[in-house]
Point group: C2
Chain length 251, copies 2
């Protein structure tokens, strides 16, 4: 089954920087021989995941079927969107949903507000968990041993002067999030950016995802976010949890 890992590695060599590649380029990026890269590209082409034009190979939209298999298997996917759209219409800020993967959060749903400054994070985008509000909510939902294991894998880097990079302080903040049931992160990821997140809970009260609203400091100071947005965010998270059979905030 090593060929399977190699095939996936070849898919992942394609990106914004390398949308179309020759066999030699794929070989170099994937750490394969040219013969190996050629064989995998031809298999991918045969399966319809890659197309060739002259010497250049590109991914086809069939690749999206794989991610779609994941997204459609999320219980919250279709159910959460209308609730999140109502929230966006109400608070006039973007709302997203994310899950934890290793030490990253991965966006699984995004309802943008129609503002020029809207942050551009599509489904599948990743951000580090330690300095994001959804990350802290998701980390707070882990059992203690699992949390320690994730913390041990993290590189806590200062993304701004305000980023918490001290592991003991981060642990305290996560514990606070666990107690209060929500997280506010102001300017730890990016200057000017404030984000507020709450957990989505499954049947056993476990945290399965997080949703957030985020805005710009100058437009919506953190204190205003707490006063005006927090009750609405918690209500939306509770509704989504209830729909997927979970226990909501109180669980």
């Amino acid at each position: 089954m090593q060929s399977f890992a190699r095939g996936l590695a070849v898919v992942r060599t394609f990106s914004a920087e390398a949308p179309a590649q020759t066999i030699a380029e794929v070989a170099e990026r994937a750490g394969l021989t040219r013969a190996g890269a050629r064989r995998i590209l031809h298999t991918l082409q045969h399966l319809g995941y890659v197309e060739a034009e002259g010497r250049l190979f590109r991914l086809t939209p069939k690749i999206l079927d794989l991610g779609f298999a994941y997204l459609s298997s999320l219980p919250l996917w279709n159910l959460a969107e209308p609730v999140m759209e109502d929230l966006v219409q109400d608070v006039k800020e973007s709302c997203s949903a994310a899950v934890l993967d290793g030490t990253d959060i991965v966006y699984v749903l995004r309802v943008p507000t129609h503002k020029i400054m809207a942050i551009n994070l599509g489904v599948g985008s990743r951000l580090p968990a330690y300095c994001t509000s959804m990350g802290r909510v998701l980390l707070a939902g882990l059992p203690p041993a699992a949390l320690e294991a994730r913390l041990a894998q993290m590189r806590l880097e200062p993304r701004t002067p305000k980023t918490v990079t001290d592991p003991a302080r981060l642990r305290e903040l996560i514990e606070q999030v666990r107690m209060q049931g929500w997280a506010l992160v102001a300017e730890e990821l990016e200057e000017g950016l404030v984000s507020l997140a709450a957990p989505i809970r499954g049947r056993q009260g476990e945290v399965v995802a997080a949703i957030n609203v985020s805005g710009q400091q100058h437009r919506t100071p953190p204190v205003v976010m707490l006063e005006r947005f927090l009750p609405k965010l918690l209500k939306a998270a509770h509704e989504i949890s209830a729909m997927i059979g979970g226990k909501g905030q109180g669980g």
Copy 2:
């Protein structure tokens, strides 16, 4: 490289109906032996694409990296979104972008309007090309021989009483779309649904994607869509084409 095809087939057995599966269920859905399914699931687990809880296996968000590799390699992806958001704000209807894959259109970007009735089609969703406005635009962009090959593969089924299922008539409509540079499809996919699409063109004038606006017949009759939305849709398509170095509508 058959193991690669099998691995991808295993990923695709997961869905909204089967978010968590036992080895036996995966084996049955993928047409594999239990031993074969077990080996592939363990490889996927080792690579981080699958996680196990007791006897049940689930996909992890890492799967999204594969689709993300495709989406981020699309030239139009980040560039198109702000233009589409402006269009949505202007016309108050949802706007989407899609590409052609075989005889289907695949959604690659979606800007919903904040209405309860908004059609729920996420990135990666598929619809048949023959009865959708973006499908007709994308088919009209194919060279004649490629178009004939796709038409030969299609099963033209009546989705509503208005769906065009006669191949000769469909060919005429596609030719008309090619001449006029846009497509209007009223109630051929779904009763009440009207959609208007225009092509996004690449450097050589080739059609690389389509964008649309869609609405409900009772709210926005087709004639109103043409009068009010068509000029704005064509302008947005032209802007996006220009940004990716293409020739826009005039190409």
